[in-house]
Each structure stands twice: as structure tokens, then as C-alpha cells.
């Protein structure tokens, strides 16, 4: 199938090697473990495997058929057709990490452009070539802060407004370091109001404060005063962003962020049941040697022509081994390319337009739902993408009901925040028509009064 060898070629090759059979190539494998019987299904042809996977895919109901009001870290945005056409270029998707720059200028320049776009979007000075996703990028911010203070500052403050799964990953990543305090996100009575509580936790032992903008509840805070406090205490300030929101909102580089992370999925990457997505990581120039992962830099070749190379590799695992800034090797190359093509296509005006569409539609939906008896919208204006609705019944029950009418309801916040039992996080993007919003409101109303 994927092996081009003919019998005569095989024989000839074995003769050249000086053995009489393929088995002779495996005599160094202990006999007692050699050639296990693998109990696997019989091999399928391409035609059969395509039919089987088509069947499996059809067993899903997806945003293709459902009106999607589910976000919570993964967003249903329009992907311009040209994005996937570029991703399907064999020269991009079947290349490896650009270790040989002379034959990898395509990948290298695309990453360089990606880095530039991420700096432009976040208002920061340096971007790496990507992390696995928003959660691991957030965790890497923790590792970077830890090393920045050589382990001497041991307090890490996480806002409860940071995606719950990002906070979980942060804790897993930091679990190898002893005696750290990771706090701030204990969910108390009112997880949506945390600014003052976070301020109270900042001290001279604080390595890093992490907030999300807009936060997990969709709220847009002015974090400038908090950033100022963190800096006065000598700590670092990290902001988790949604890149679409930055088409409209002031970039974190303008209000004191030292590190900006986030998930680039909304930038032209399909939902794909959770991955692969894209971890964004940008920072200030003074921390460039502490950044994890790959960096592409501009230079010239022997004839003075402009070209690009992987640079500052001395930070990385293949050189520094146990002293590396991180263990990361493979990143999300192709997903970074998707974000680059997406941003190139939508451009300055388009990104602003997408962001405004999301903004206006979400506010419209919130106004509409706020009018329904039994439901209450908790967000004070302004918010982005998402808002929190207190529901008259358990969210799972409502979602089951909505599904019957072709609506994928919002996220059940009670799963992560006990104080927000029966609260739904509703996401609205440019993909939701006014009609869909009306339908959602109607069925929410119908359900409440059933």
C-alpha cells in the first residue's frame, strides 16, 4: 500500500546487506518477546476505512447542524475558504521543523510573520513560534516566572476568571516544583468579582499574577491598576487573551502585561473536538532569553539576501538538555500558519468587524434573554463573546431540551464553580444570526414555563 518494494528489490537489498531474510535483521531482539501476536482488526482498504470513518463522523451532531451557543475556550467562527487551501499545500503540511533553513524558508518566513502578527495583536515585543494550546501556554508562563525569580518567589496568583482547565494544567505543570503557593482562584460565593481579592494576595513573594481578558465569564476589566500593583511588588503580570477580542479591545501590552498568552483557535482553526489548536505566547524583549520554544529571526545569507533562521536555540532542550527553558520541541507549526493566513485575509478592518459582530450580537442576545422571566443575566456591561445567565432549572436539563430544537446550549458553570450552580455561559459569535438568537430565547422561555 504505502510500501513501494517489489519482491526482487527486497531480495537484492537483503543480498547487499548480507543477510538471507528480514528475520535476520531482528536477531538482537530477545526471542521471548520477539514477534508478539497483535490482536488488531483486519486491515481495511482505503474505500472501507473511508466508509467506516464516515459512519463514525455521522454519529456526531455538530455545529454544522446545530445553532452553537457553546464557547468556554473554543469558538465557532467563520473560516475563510483560502485558509484550508493553504494548509493543504503539501510543502507546508509534510515538512518538518525548519532545521535546514535553506530548504525551509517558506515555513520560517510564515512563522516570522506569525510572530509579527501576534506582537501586533497583543501589543507585545516578542512572540515565540507557538505552544500546544492556550492552557499549556499559560502553564509555560508560570514556568518562565518561576525561573525569572530563580525559584525564590513562590507565590502564583490565578484569577478565578481564568479558564478552569487552564488553571488545572497550570497546577499540573507546576507540580514538579516544591513549596509553591498557587492561589487566588478558590471559588467562593462570588467568583465573578475577584479584582479586590486578587489585589489582596499580591506581596513581595509573588512571582506571577494571571488574569484573563475577556475573562472566562466574558467580562472585560480594566487591568491597568492591578498590573501596576503587581509591578510595584516586583512580580510579573500575565494576561490570557482571546485573539478575536483584541480586534476591538486595547491590547494587554498597553496596560502593563509582561506576558500575554491565549488560544489561537478562533483565528481560522476548526473546533475539531478540542484540537489541535494553537498556544499564543508573547512577552517583552527583556524576557526574550527566558521564553520557551522556537523563535525565528531575520538575517542575511552569504550573498546578503534576506532570510530567516531558528534563533537563540541555546535556550532549547536539544542544546541545553536539563538546563533548557522548557522541554518543548514540537510546536503547532501548521496551526500557527492557519492563524497567519486567517489574519492576512481578514486584515485590519476584517478582524475589527468580526470582533464587533461578536460584541453586538452577544449584547443583543443578553438583552433578549434578560427579558425572559426566570432568567437573569449577571454580567454588567461590557462583555465579549460570552455572558452568564442564571437559569430557573439545571443547565443540563435546559441543554437537553434545546438540543431537541437544534440548539447547542451554553456551558454549565456549576461544573467548575459551585456558587454558579444553574448558571449557563452563553457564547455568541458572528456565526449566530439574529434568527438563531430569537429561537434560543423562545425555547429558553418555553422551557422555563413548561
Amino acid at each position: 500500500m504505502f510500501l513501494p518494494h517489489t519482491d526482487s528489490e527486497r531480495s537484492e537489498m537483503l543480498r547487499t546487506i548480507g543477510v538471507s531474510s528480514i528475520d535476520e535483521l531482528f536477531q538482537d531482539v530477545p526471542e521471548k518477546v520477539r514477534y508478539p501476536t497483535l490482536n488488531l482488526p483486519p486491515a481495511l482498504t482505503e474505500m472501507e476505512v473511508a466508509a467506516q470513518l464516515q459512519q463514525m463522523a455521522l454519529a456526531n451532531e455538530t455545529t454544522q447542524d446545530l445553532a452553537c451557543f457553546l464557547g468556554a475556550g473554543a469558538y465557532n467562527h467563520y473560516i475563510p475558504a483560502a485558509v484550508d487551501h493553504i494548509l493543504r499545500r503539501n510543502e507546508f503540511y509534510t515538512a518538518y521543523t525548519p532545521y535546514q533553513p535553506e530548504v525551509s524558508q517558506g515555513t520560517l518566513q510564515a512563522i516570522f510573520e506569525y510572530q509579527s502578527l501576534m506582537c501586533a495583536l497583543t501589543g507585545m515585543e516578542v512572540s515565540n513560534a507557538s505552544h500546544y494550546d492556550g492552557a499549556t501556554a499559560t502553564a509555560e508562563a508560570g514556568i518562565m516566572a518561576y525561573h525569572n525569580f530563580r525559584g525564590k518567589r513562590t507565590r502564583f496568583v490565578l484569577s478565578p476568571g481564568v479558564h478552569p482547565q487552564y488553571r488545572q494544567v497550570f497546577r499540573t505543570y507546576m507540580s514538579g516544583y516544591e513549596n509553591l503557593e498557587i492561589l487566588g482562584d478558590e471559588t467562593e460565593d462570588d467568583p465573578m468579582n475577584y479584582l479586590e481579592r486578587l489585589e489582596g494576595l499580591i506581596n513581595s513573594n509573588t512571582a506571577l499574577v494571571v488574569v484573563q481578558y475577556p475573562d472566562f465569564f466574558g467580562q472585560i476589566h480594566d487591568f491597568a491598576p492591578l498590573a501596576e500593583m503587581v509591578h510595584q511588588a516586583g512580580g510579573l503580570f500575565a494576561v490570557v487573551v482571546n485573539p478575536i477580542a483584541l480586534g476591538l479591545l486595547k491590547p494587554p501590552g498597553e496596560f502593563g502585561a509582561d506576558i500575554v498568552v491565549g488560544d489561537g483557535q478562533p483565528l481560522g482553526i476548526p473546533l475539531s473536538f478540542g484540537g489541535p489548536y494553537l498556544g499564543i505566547f508573547t512577552t517583552r524583549k527583556e524576557y526574550v532569553r527566558r521564553i520557551a520554544g522556537r523563535l525565528v529571526g531575520e538575517t542575511v545569507d552569504v550573498q546578503g539576501r534576506r532570510g530567516y533562521v531558528l534563533t537563540l536555540t541555546a535556550r532549547e532542550q536539544h542544546i541545553r538538555r536539563e538546563k533548557a527553558t522548557s522541554n518543548i520541541c514540537t510546536n503547532q507549526g501548521l496551526m500557527a500558519l492557519a492563524a497567519t493566513v486567517y489574519l492576512a485575509l481578514v486584515g485590519k478592518e476584517g478582524l475589527r468587524q468580526v470582533a464587533e459582530l461578536c460584541y453586538h450580537k452577544a449584547h443583543y442576545a443578553a438583552d433578549r434573554i434578560a427579558q425572559i422571566r426566570g432568567y437573569r443575566v449577571l454580567n454588567q456591561r461590557p462583555f465579549f463573546h460570552e455572558f452568564v445567565v442564571k437559569c430557573p432549572k439545571p443547565v443540563a436539563e435546559i441543554n437537553e431540551y434545546l438540543l431537541d430544537y437544534g440548539i447547542l446550549g451554553g456551558y454549565d458553570l456549576g461544573q467548575d464553580y459551585p456558587a454558579l450552580k444553574d448558571h449557563m455561559l452563553i457564547a455568541v459569535t458572528e456565526m449566530n444570526s439574529r434568527e438563531e438568537i430569537e429561537t434560543l430565547a423562545e425555547y429558553l422561555e418555553e422551557f422555563a414555563h413548561d
Binding site: M1, P4, R10, E12, M13, L14, G18, E24, L25, D28, V29, V33, L40, L44, V49, M56, A59, N60, D84, R88, E91, F92, Y93, Y96, P101, S104, Q105, A110, F112, Q115, S116, L117, Y132, A135, T136, V169, T172, D222, L246, K250, G275, P276, Y277, G297, E298, D301, V309, T311, Q317, E322, N327, C329, T330, A344, R352, Q353, K361, Y364, R381, P382
Partner: protein, 491 residues
């Protein structure tokens, strides 16, 4: 030709895509929080498409030709994989949908877990890790959680052979362990005496790549895993080189407790110019409760008429989550497709032909290039890119000259224990004709190294750019571009 950057191509007022006007009333924008300037380029769709097509043509790719990067398993990626991952039923599913709406995705993940268990001989699998190094971090955190759960707190060291990938020590350090390097013996195996001497009550585990990065099967593997187990440690397997072992030997049968797999190497999901990968972790039954989660499980058994109900479960003593959502689902679809098209016999053929191809190249080259650990290799081998009678020629020069012959160079300068290393992994998908051309090129280059060394020193000659000034790149650190009129912008 130098391709301008997106920013240089930008013309104010151009648009690549339009969106509808809002069909709802506008709300006032947030005061004081709206950005003043959004310095993104402005391009038409045709500008964007041509730009990226032109960039793509500056890349070498496995769909163009042989890509013999050692340890990277650059095999051909079947096209059906791509189509399956893009089926709307998969590509358009939101990760947080109610489980009864995503039974197709969950069934695929469950079945992939089962396939990987069978292939590795291990008892449980988490598909969450995003890449090999991510799987390593996961595995080392499992080692840590295991010892901690037994109240065994004095284990502070991870043993790592000197031939290991750099990610191994980096992952161990990230997990709070001290790294102890083990020497290799004359045959390229782990030095058993050194291993025994290092194995005491402070050893948490050993990270072992088998076949190792010299492409050699660890001949004493059963002895090695036994020694570590007797000292109370666990054995972690770096599955980067699993391609050589499919259907040949299972890590679980050889005494490995934990193993990460690289779906993007062994199971043909493409490398994407440096990712996304996918690095599932398999463990013994005894360690199943420590896996990162949630993992896919059967919530209700099926019957003849009704399929089982799949759902998620968090292992009881899980190290926690290592990634948002469920891992790189799109890569799982590709790997599942690949495994289903091979079956047990097909997978064994993959390994056999990967090893056949590597040994064939080795046989053709060993008289010209010195191979320091010269025995039957597995999927790859490592040669020296240097000759005493060709002064000034280095592995790098050979690599660059190969580009003139239209081949991607092998991995160079790794592993560190071979001087001027050229690490060659042809993979099973290459034909004898391709291998012959590659061997002929390397033999010719060896001759040129002695007769016309300047041809190597000045290579490559026909690429969009020649050798690049890496010192300048690191010194001047130009890491992003800006609009020409925005030169005053930071950086």
C-alpha cells in the same frame, strides 16, 4: 527571489474577506477599552494566496522527496488521513458538547486507546498529551506521583543514557528531578555496570529510548528493566523510535512501565512544519490511575443492537490535566485511519521495511562513511560526517551539499556521542531506487570532500537563499516585521 513579508505587501484599503453587516442593533463600545490602532496588514485574497503559495515553494517536504531526518520518522503521509480528519462530523464538533452528541468522536478515541494498548503491550492509555515532549513530561510526573503515593520521597534522580533526546533531561528537570547521565558501552547499549552502580534507593526511574538514537536495539533491554525495577524505579520508554518495533516487540513485554507514542512519527500524521504532533502516553495497569485525564471510557456496555455509551472518566489518582479539552483529536483521526488500514500484519511490515531500508543504506555507505557502532541497525543509523584526510569538511557541509543533489539532509550533530553525527532514517515508504540515488549522492559527496572541498563548503547552490548568518540573527534579534511606515514601533 526574496518574497516580501505580509506587511510589505499590505496596501491600505484592501480586503481579503468581507463579513455581513450586523443584523442586530449596535451596542455602545466599552469606554476607554477600545484599541486605537490595529497594525495588521491589508491584502486581497489573491495577494494572500499567492504569497503563501510562493512561500510554500521555498520548502522541502516529504511529498517532494526523501526526508531522512534521523529520529523524526518522516514517512509518507497517506492522503486519506487528511480527508478523514476534515469530515464535518469530526472537524465541526465542539469539545464541550454533551457526550450523547459526540459518540462518534468518543468511539474513535476509545478504539484508538485500545489499539495503542495492544500495539504497546501496556494496560491503559491517555490521549491528552500534545506531542512527544509533552508525553515525556506527563510520564515523568506519573513516575513522581507513583513514588509519592507510596510515601517514597527519597527518590530524586532520573537516569538517562548519554544518547538520549534532549527532551528527556529537560522533561525530568521540569518535573523536579536531578538527571544522572549513563554512559553507553562499546556496542552502543546502556553500560550495565554503570547502570547497576547508579541504581540505588534514590532512583525514581530510567528514561530509555529503544531502539536508541544510534538506531540500535538495546540488546540487554530485559536486564536493564529488571535492574531498574529491582532498585524500586520505573522504566520510561521514549517512543520516538517505535516505528522499528511495530509488531516486532512490545514495550510492555520488555518491562517498560510508561511509554509515549508519537502519532506524528509512527502513525503517519504529518509533521506540519513543526507540529501539531500528538503524544499519547501508555502505562501498565498498575499505573493507570495516575494518567492525566479525563480519558474516554465505556459508561454503559452496549448490546447487539445498541452501541456502548462512551464518556469521560478522571483516573482516581490522576496527575491532573496536561492540556485543555481532549488532546489533538484531529491527529487521532489520522492515526486511527492509518492503523485501521494496516492491521497487525501491515504494521509489522512497516517496521520490517523501515529496518530493511536503513540497513540497506548502511550497507551501501559504511565503506565510505565511518559508522562507529557498526552492527545491524534498526530504523536508522548514525555515521560520522568527517574524514581525517579531508580537513575542514564537517557534517554540516555534507548536509548542505546533499541539498544540491535534491535531498533533504539527515539530522546532524545528534546524538552527541558521535562526532560530527549524520543520523539517517529513511523510513519504510522509500523505494530502492530512491535509496540508491541517495546513497550515490552521499558517495559522490564523500569523493568531492577529498577532491573539490569548496563545492561542499559553499553549498547549497540552488536554493532560494544560501547559508544564513546565524550569529547575526542571534545578535541583532529581529523577531518581527512591521509596516514600513511604522519603523518607530518597538522592536
Amino acid at each position: 527571489m526574496t518574497e516580501p513579508t505580509l506587511f510589505e505587501l499590505s496596501s491600505p484599503g484592501r480586503r481579503g474577506v468581507r463579513f455581513p453587516e450586523p443584523d442586530v442593533p449596535k451596542s455602545p463600545l466599552p469606554k476607554g477599552l477600545v484599541r486605537k490602532d490595529l497594525p495588521l496588514p491589508e491584502l486581497a485574497e489573491v495577494d494572500v494566496v499567492r504569497h503563501f503559495v510562493r512561500l510554500s515553494q521555498k520548502n522541502y517536504a516529504v511529498d517532494y522527496g526523501l526526508y531522512p531526518l534521523g529520529s523524526c520518522t518522516m514517512k509518507y503521509n497517506p492522503k486519506i488521513n487528511e480527508d478523514m480528519a476534515r469530515l464535518p462530523g469530526f472537524a465541526m464538533a465542539h469539545p464541550l458538547q454533551p457526550i450523547d452528541t459526540v459518540q462518534g468522536s468518543l468511539a474513535l478515541m476509545y478504539e484508538l486507546q485500545e489499539l495503542l494498548k495492544e500495539i504497546t503491550g501496556l494496560g491503559a492509555v491517555s490521549l491528552q498529551p500534545a506531542a512527544g515532549a509533552h508525553g515525556e513530561l506527563t510520564g515523568v510526573l506519573i513516575i513522581r506521583a507513583y513514588h509519592k503515593s507510596r510515601g517514597d520521597t527519597k527518590r530524586t534522580k532520573i537516569l538517562i543514557p548519554d544518547s538520549a533526546h534532549g527532551t528527556n533531561p529537560a522533561s525530568s528537570a521540569m518535573s523536579g528531578y536531578e538527571v544522572v547521565q549513563l554512559p553507553s558501552d562499546k556496542r552502543g547499549n546502556v553500560d550495565l555496570e554503570a547502570l547497576k552502580a547508579a541504581c540505588d534507593e534514590t532512583v525514581a526511574g530510567l528514561m530509555l529510548t529503544n531502539p536508541n538514537t544510534l538506531g540500535l536495539f538495546e540488546e540487554n533491554v530485559l536486564e536493564v528493566t529488571r535492574i531498574v525495577h529491582e532498585a524500586g524505579g520505573l522504566v520510561y520508554g521514549d517512543g520516538a523510535n517505535l516505528n522499528a518495533l511495530l509488531g516486532i516487540a512490545r514495550p510492555g513485554d520488555m518491562g517498560f512501565d510508561i511509554l509515549h507514542l508519537n502519532l506524528h512519527k509512527t502513525f503517519s500524521t504529518p509533521h506540519g512544519g513543526g507540529g501539531p504532533g500528538s503524544g499519547p502516553v501508555a502505562v501498565t495497569e498498575a499505573l493507570a490511575e495516575f494518567l492525566p485525564g479525563p480519558i474516554v471510557t465505556i459508561l454503559e456496555e452496549g448490546t447487539d443492537e445498541v452501541p456502548p455509551l462512551y464518556g469521560f472518566k478522571m483516573p482516581s489518582r490522576s496527575i491532573g490535566r496536561v492540556k485543555a479539552f481532549h488532546g489533538h483529536f484531529g491527529m487521532m483521526v489520522r492515526a486511527y485511519t492509518y492503523i485501521m488500514m494496516h492491521g497487525a500484519e501491515g504494521l509489522r511490515k512497516v517496521a520490517e521495511h523501515a529496518v530493511l531500508n536503513a540497513n540497506y543504506l548502511l550497507a551501501r555507505l559504511r565503506h565510505v562513511y565511518k559508522v562507529p557502532y557498526d552492527r545491524i541497525c534498526k530504523h536508522e543509523f548514525v555515521a560520522e560526517g568527517i574524514w581525517d584526510d579531508a580537513p575542514g569538511i564537517h557534517a554540516l557541509d555534507i548536509a548542505k551539499r546533499l541539498i544540491d543533489y535534491d535531498f533533504h539532509p539527515p539530522t546532524n550533530y545528534f546524538p552527541l556521542i558521535v562526532r560530527e553525527a549524520l543520523m539517517i532514517e529513511p523510513t519504510e515508504t522509500e523505494s530502492k531506487q530512491t535509496l540508491d540515488k541517495f546513497a550515490d549522492a552521499l558517495i559522490k559527496i564523500a569523493e568531492e570532500a577529498h577532491t573539490q572541498p569548496e563545492l561542499l563548503k559553499s553549498a547549497p547552490h540552488n536554493t532560494p537563499v544560501g547559508r544564513l548568518d546565524e550569529v547575526k540573527a542571534a545578535k541583532e534579534l529581529v523577531l518581527c516585521c512591521w509596516f514600513p511606515e511604522k519603523e518607530e514601533h518597538p522592536v
